[in-house]
Every structure is written in C-alpha cells, then in structure tokens.
Symmetry: C2
Subunit: 311 residues, 2 copies
C-alpha cells in the first residue's frame, strides 16, 4: 500500500509517496515559511500530501496513511508538539489538524528517528532488528531502532545522544548545558576547533580559506586532512576520537547490531570510518563480546521522506 511521508524542516516541506519497500514514487516540496501561523503550514503540508499522491498516480482513497518527521518531538499521549524551535512552534496539535484535513491516520516522529527507520526499512541497516543512526551535521542527531521499531522512550524524549554530556564542564552547548557530545562530534565542533587551532598557522586550511575564518567549513578541514596537512590531520584524528567515544557510549547503552553515520561529515566516507575504528575499538567496554560495526548511511536526504512514510 502506498503511504505519504513528509520531511518537515525549518526551510522546506518535502513530501513523497512511498511504496512498501521504501521506494519514493513522487516528490513534492514547498517552502515552510515557519513565521506563519502553524495552521497555514499544516494546510501546506496537506497540499503537498495530496499533490504527491496525485503525481504518483494514486487515488487519495488508496493512500494507507501519512507520516511526518519533525525537528522536535510529539507528546504521543496528546498528539501535541510542545516545542519545535526551528518552526517557532509551541503546543501545536499537528497530528489532529493534519488528520482532519486529510481524512487519514497521521503519525508524527522525530526527524532523526524517522531517518533511522528509513535506513532500517530500505537502507544500510536493513535486515537488523536493532540499529542506531548518527547524523553528524550542524548538530548531532541520533535515531534508534529497537526490535524493528523506532524507539522514543516513555515521553518521546529518548535517543538525544547528541545532548548527552561527554565532557563534564566542557564546551557550552546551544541547549544551555556544557559538554554535550554534539559540541565535540558535529561539523560545528570541527569548524570551531579549526578556527581555534589552524588559522594561526600557515597550513593548508589557512591557505584554503585565504585566512578568512568565515570561509571555513567542515569539508575544507576534512579535505585538508585527507591531503595530509599535518595540522588538519591532527585535528581530524582528535575529532574522530571524540566521535568514537560517543559511539562506544552507544554500544554501552543500546548495544545495537550496527551503527550508521549520516549527515554532512559522513561524506568523508572511508577516511572517516578508518580514523574512528581504532579509538572506537579501544573504548569498547566488553571487548570479549561482539559489538556493532560502524557503517555509512545509504539514503541521504531521502531518508526523511521514506522513514516518515514508514511511521
């Protein structure tokens, strides 16, 4: 049965019709313009859903259901989204309103959880029952599949590994706490440290950005490390170590069959995996037992639509 998946972000509403195997049959998008009243955003979501069905050649009555991935969490007991900073949302009854507009059952999930579900159904963790997807981007998102189902805890707030403290009294985080893993494993962290360490030297990073800190991005640092620049390489190794410690923490909490890396930083591919492997193995607590291999996510930006349709 064909279902509709919606990847709702602060910038865009990306919607698709998805078949049972996770193939996207159509894609429709509209800008979110989140400063509007949420009713207008929800009306646009409904519009993209009907458009996506039509473009896939499906009668609306034949659509099996609708799922929405949001950059936040829903209170599953009420169907209310209590807070979603990127959308300027507070106490929004997304599930109910969208359900009324579409005459379908609507499911809402966290965007990282939804992406993990997509990888589980149609991506790199297919065939496993327990998996974790870690997206290394501006922040660090984590989605967890347990027993083949998205895990979100008792109140929907589980699996925020990016905001687990990994350095007591460490770097100040956007969440107000200090030392969150996100402050060490995100692209933002790599850029911060590159600004701190690499711009005063006459190394490859300095030359790549023409001495302009604002021109720095994660790809430049990763490329300079790949090309063998000693400063960039030393930073990259430390960054990989910080990622690895958090991945070992994931083994010590969820013990999944596989851990996948996604997000912008994961574009570094095998270069990243190789740098992570050794500190990851060293940090594993139960070395006498099997533990999760680290792999790369397969679905990229489509994971949001596919996973939402699978909710």
């Amino acid at each position: 049965m064909i279902r509709i998946g919606v990847d709702l972000g602060g910038t865009g509403i990306k919607t698709g019709a998805v078949d049972e195997k996770g193939n996207i049959l159509s894609k429709v998008s509209r800008p979110t313009r989140p400063q509007r009243h949420y009713d207008e955003v929800i009306a646009d979501i409904a519009g993209t859903a009907r458009d996506a069905a039509r473009e896939a050649g499906c009668d609306w009555d034949g659509i099996g259901g609708v799922g929405v991935g949001i950059p936040g969490v829903e209170d599953a007991s009420t169907g209310i989204v209590p807070l979603c900073a990127n959308l300027y949302w507070r106490d929004v009854p997304l599930r109910g309103r969208l359900g009324e507009l579409l005459g379908k059952e609507v499911h809402v999930g966290n965007d990282a959880t939804v992406a993990a579900l997509a990888e589980h159904v149609a991506g790199a963790s297919r065939g496993t029952e327990n998996s974790v997807l870690v997206t290394l981007g501006t922040g660090v998102g984590t989605g967890v599949i347990l027993n083949g189902k998205p895990f979100s805890g008792s109140h929907g707030v589980a699996t925020e590994l990016g905001h687990c403290v990994i350095r007591i009294d460490g770097e100040l985080c956007t969440c107000g706490n200090r030392g969150c893993w996100e402050r060490y494993a995100s692209a933002t962290a790599l850029i911060r440290e590159a600004k701190n360490r690499l711009l005063s030297e006459d190394g490859a990073v300095y030359r790549a950005v023409g001495g302009d800190p604002e021109a720095l991005n994660a790809k430049i640092v990763l490329d300079c490390a790949k090309s063998g620049d000693p400063g960039a390489l030393a930073l990259f190794k430390e960054y990989a170590y910080w990622i690895a410690l958090g991945l070992a923490n994931i083994v010590s909490t969820y013990d999944p069959e596989i851990i996948l890396l996604g997000g912008g930083v994961s574009a570094a591919g095998d270069f990243l995996l190789r740098a992570i492997q050794s500190p990851y193995e060293k940090a594993i607590f139960f070395k006498a037992m099997p533990y999760a291999p680290i792999g790369l996510a397969a679905l990229g930006n489509d994971a949001g639509i596919i996973g939402a349709a699978m909710l």
Copy 2:
C-alpha cells in the same frame, strides 16, 4: 509458581525460593570461593537451589525454573559466560551445566539488570513499563527495563552506563578507559575526592578518620556533609552534580518513567535526592516534556535473588 533465584557474586552464592509476587520464601547461602574450578561453583549453586526449594517446603518438581544473576554478561546465543572477572571465569557454560544438574530451564542475567527487574516486579518501579536502576557502590551498575522486560541489547552488553564516558580524557577507570561515569558517581569517586581535598584541612572528615586516609569511607563523607561541614558539603554537592549529569544522560538515552538509586551511597536517602534534584532538572534537554522522577530503590540486597527468580 515458585521459582529459584540465585545472586552469584565473588564472595557468596545467595539463593532463594521466590513466589510470583516477588516474596522470598527461603534463603540459602554458601561461599563462592571463586578460585575453584567453575564446575565446583556450579555444583554448589545447584545445591543451594535444591536446599532453597526444600526450605520453602516445595517439591523440586514443582519449581517453575531457575534464574542466576552474575557480575558479568552471558552470550545469550550460546549460553556461555565469556568473561567474569570477579569469578575468575572465562568461557563458562553456566546455563547448560546448571540446567543439566537441576533438570530445569535456567536463565542468566547481569546482576544490575536483575536488580532492576526485581524493583520492577516487587519494588519501587512496580507499575511502570520503563525504568532504570542505578546502583551507586564501589562501581556504578545500571539495569534497564523496557516495555516491562529486562533490556540487554543485541549481544547482552547494553546498559553499561557506568562505563559511558562522561568526561573525555578524565579519571582513569578500572576498565582501561578514561572519564567513565563510574569514576565520578561511585562511592569510590567520593572517597577519592575526599582524600584529595578534605584530609589536608582540619575539617570534620579529617577528625572523623583521625587523619588516616585508609579509614575513609563514603558514609563518613556523607555524614560529615549532612552535619554541615563546609568542605564535605562542597564536595558532596559536586558529587551530586556528577551523579545528576549521568541521570540526565539516562533520560536522553532511555527516557524511562522512573530512575531509581540503589547501592551503598543511596543510604543517604532524601539528603542525596535533594542534592541531585536541582542539577538534574537543569541538565534535562527537553524541559517542556515530562521526564523521569528520581527515587530510591526499595529491595536492597534482596533484589538480586528476587530479580533472578523473575528472569
């Protein structure tokens, strides 16, 4: 139906017959003497099991099954205990051997998980589906119940929160890594910091131990803090903060309905809970959503027998 629960530690084998509600009907114990061959230890476990059934007035044929909590993990796919340092065990087929000796189905679980299960069935987390028990003792043990069942991950190595890194490059841990939560939240950590900070002063702790570092224990530090000694109180507050950060990490990973504290340090009771509450609330990521209250475990040392019987 009556079942047998075995709490197997490095010092003693403690075994009981337990009814369905978690009441202990009889208790039998023998020294473990772990330097012996494991076959002798397993034979003694079998002996205590039959003795416990007899003392409870149960015919052995009427016993529903046998559970054993161990200070380690079993490879559930093989029934082998690959490594158990406190017992000097390596690759021990506990489940199979004990099953042969007793003619009953045997289940093996990690001791922290078993204690969490006991609290779930007959203790302070009764009535919840998702709970975490944290035992603050020489180390930090954690047991997790998800959907009413013990959670141990894909390979049995999940829920080792005590060995999650909470301070990158922090204190060296017995596991070989640095900065594990156990190094900040255990009684051992409190004693270490008291030795570092409180013995050079002429404060209450110094007087309580007569200036002898070897006389220090967690209870002395906690009692001095309770009595208002400024140095002990300052250390205790920092210690409570370290505990609180790890508890907030538990919310961000498992999002349980309740978190329970057990182990020796939890004897400080409300004094400890009050000190933890404020930094715990501050460290919660999703403050707009409900999150787990912190409570005290109820079953004490009996949890090992009760939970093992419930495996």
